[in-house]
């Protein structure tokens, strides 16, 4: 029942946000149609941070209480977050090409997202190279905690670094138009609900996997 509600909400919000992004919102004057990627990119970036926050909190709880459900939550959130981080980098890159003629630019946000991508990757590497499951969970929890604490410092360092050079992103001066703000908020809401749908899927799948493993040991 809960999953049906969540899925339904996600579907509705996605359709509404698609309408808003492609039909309702007026085209931005300096960047043209391509600017609409912005309504996809900002939710991706936001979800990257949200997913990592969930990893952080569940990792702390896992190390404190040693209950496997926190580890499952952390692992699932890391998986979903990793996908969104990859998409954030890809959409950022797609946006960059028509605007600045280059596929990649070392702009603070893109650079910070790239570093975050590597921290996520390290999370999975540690998990797969651990000697056993529980040790992998424990070590990955440590990576999740350290990685999240690093995020504000990465943000500060990349902003300062690029502050020495002329800024490459020039956002609309004078704030953001109300239609754009609405579209942006609905997009963010749609993707956040979608994140929870995916997270729930992963958690349920992992719960089933662990039940299966227990059954297999009884079998042999």
């Amino acid at each position: 029942m809960k999953s049906k509600i969540l899925l339904g909400m996600s579907l509705v919000l996605m359709i509404v946000s698609l309408y808003l992004v492609f039909i309702y919102v007026p085209t931005e004057e300096s960047m043209g149609i391509v600017q609409r990627i912005f309504y996809l990119m900002v939710p991706m970036g936001w979800l990257t941070l949200l997913a990592f926050l969930v990893v952080f909190i569940s990792s702390i709880l896992y190390l404190a209480q040693k209950e496997s459900r926190w580890d499952i939550l952390a692992y699932s959130s890391a998986e979903v977050g990793f996908v969104f981080t990859t998409l954030a980098i890809i959409t950022g890159s797609i946006w960059a090409k028509p605007i600045w003629e280059v596929w990649w630019t070392w702009d603070p946000r893109l650079t910070a997202t790239l570093v975050l991508w590597f921290i996520y990757a390290a999370y999975f590497v540690v998990r797969s190279f651990a000697a056993e499951e529980s040790q992998g969970a424990r070590l990955a929890a440590v990576v999740g905690i350290i990685g999240f604490v690093d995020i504000p410092i990465i943000a500060m360092a990349t902003t300062l670094w690029k502050g020495l050079h002329p800024p490459l992103i020039i956002f609309q001066e004078g704030g953001i138009a109300p239609e754009m703000l609405l579209t942006l908020l609905v997009s963010i809401a749609a993707f956040t609900v979608f994140y929870f749908v995916l997270l729930r899927q992963q958690v349920l799948m992992k719960n089933d996997e662990s039940k299966l493993r227990i059954l297999k040991t009884y079998d042999s």
Partner: protein, 223 residues
Amino acid sequence: MRCLRKAITIAWKDVLSEMRTKETISSVLVFTLLVIVTFNFAFNTGQEVMNLVAPGILWVTFAFAGVLSLNRAFILEKEENCLEGLMVCPVSRETIYVGKMLGSLLFMLVIEAIALPIFALLFNLAVLSLQLMVITFLTTIGFAAVGTLFSALAVNTRAREMILPILFLPIVAPIIISAVSASGLALSGEDWGGLASSLGIIVAFDVIFLVMSYLVFTFVIEE
């Protein structure tokens, strides 16, 4: 204070074993010099360009040399089961962390102290300024703080030392960025005010990660 003395004893153990074999310092030092020379082949240009890329080359070299020497911190412990021996000692896990961190810090500082003048020689740069030494010292503390934690983590996995760079480099990326920009400013004669923001980030990183690693270390080495 007794904890600090115990930590210093652990660090001293590492220093003693290194002084007897000299295996780490010599190999990492040669590696450092080779990296600097290889970079020189990579950027075969005039002095002005060299001045621009010198801070970057310096810090890439120190980052890789740091990874190499940090790996050593726990590999030897794992091989001879010394880590279990350390854990059985009446010292807290955090003290083990501080001791290993101090040992690694000392090794990296010694290597950097030898590499910096040679770097100055090869690149015709005035690297022996106080500013550069302070930047190097602070950044190395950050390397040691995070690197010791991750080195202990890495040796507990199947892939051992190969995991350390994957873990280490993304996390210290911000202080590498800050160290490179601060070094660049220092080499071009900027005063302390201009360095303040970059140094601030490095100090913040050091403090935050010394505390975090201290708190989290016990989860990494427990069985």
